[in-house]
């Protein structure tokens, strides 16, 4: 994104050029910071783990239990193998979305590169798991059922999945951050604080929606009875 309106870059990134490619340095730094925070939170919860959890371990167990509940309901017994991926995805997205609300930091998810990368990761995993689970021929045959022309609709749906997944998360987080800057310029102190509080909620909800949609797509590729 190019030049800003108020004399400073809104939506611009610090660039680094390496081996002919361009990297957004601030997104990379924030992604590494998010990874460090997620690892730290998980280690804090599990060192000296107790059977009856107290404190931070209890809170994280609540989150993991809710996610495992959704996974069991939607993906069936085979879903447990993918549960670590889903939980890590959710924790990364929650921490990443909230990181931009700290003054001086930006969210790693306000960059289309991060969200598109995650969405493509999810879509590739969905297809690969489907092919492993049902065999490649039967999995591809599902696109042609119930009638052969349905393959067009199915392909459009498969193309729409990564696009909507990535743009939903990207748009929510970037628009929230830009609005925070603009509100700070227009009506400082009270209204930006209200928007900040709402953005905390939006960050959690968007992370949850990304994760639930991943679970839903995966449940589609894990089922193996004839419908």
């Amino acid at each position: 994104m190019g030049h800003g309106g108020g004399g400073h870059e809104i939506g611009g990134h610090k660039l680094a050029h390496f081996a002919g490619l361009t990297f957004n340095l601030d997104t990379l730094y924030m992604t590494w910071l998010t990874m460090a925070i997620v690892i730290f939170l998980a280690v804090i919860a599990t060192r000296r783990a107790e059977i009856v959890p107290r404190g931070w371990q209890a809170f994280l167990e609540m989150v993991v239990d809710a996610l495992l509940d959704q996974i069991d309901n939607n993906m069936g017994p085979k879903g447990r193998k993918l549960a670590p991926f889903i939980i890590t995805l959710f924790l990364f997205l929650v921490v990443g979305n909230q990181l931009g609300l700290v003054p001086g930091f930006v969210s790693p998810t306000n960059d289309i590169n991060t969200t598109l990368g995650l969405a493509l990761l999810v879509v590739i995993i969905v297809h690969v798991v489907g092919m492993i689970n049902q065999g490649p021929v039967r999995y591809l045959k599902h696109f042609f059922e119930p009638y052969i022309p349905f393959v067009i609709i199915n392909i459009v749906e498969e193309l729409a999945k990564p696009i909507t997944l990535s743009f939903r998360l990207f748009g929510n987080i970037l628009a929230g951050e830009i609005l925070l800057i603009i509100l700070g310029m227009l009506v400082p102190y009270i209204i930006p604080t209200a928007w900040l509080a709402f953005s905390v909620f939006v960050g959690v909800v968007q992370a949850f929606i990304f994760t639930i949609l991943t679970v839903s797509y995966l449940s589609n590729s894990l089922k193996d009875e004839h419908h």
């Binding site: 743009f167 748009g171 968007q206 929606i209």
Partner: protein, 83 residues
Amino acid sequence: MEQAIIIAASAIGASLAIGLAAIGAALGDGVVTSKAIEGMARQPEAKGTILVNMLISVGLIESIPIIAAVIAIVLVFANPFIK
């Protein structure tokens, strides 16, 4: 002169985009939430499930209006038509 027309048209386009997106998102979310509250009132034991499904639906419904908001932001702050 051309730049002025491009800037004016981008401003009108951006406001139209975000205005229509706001109407769409508000109407859609309102319908979903009203039905969800109705369901919760009829069966308070299902409150948790209905709430979770309502939040998921709101997130899905708002995805296209959010994309319209991103287009409006790009037109205002990072206009590709302005040299």
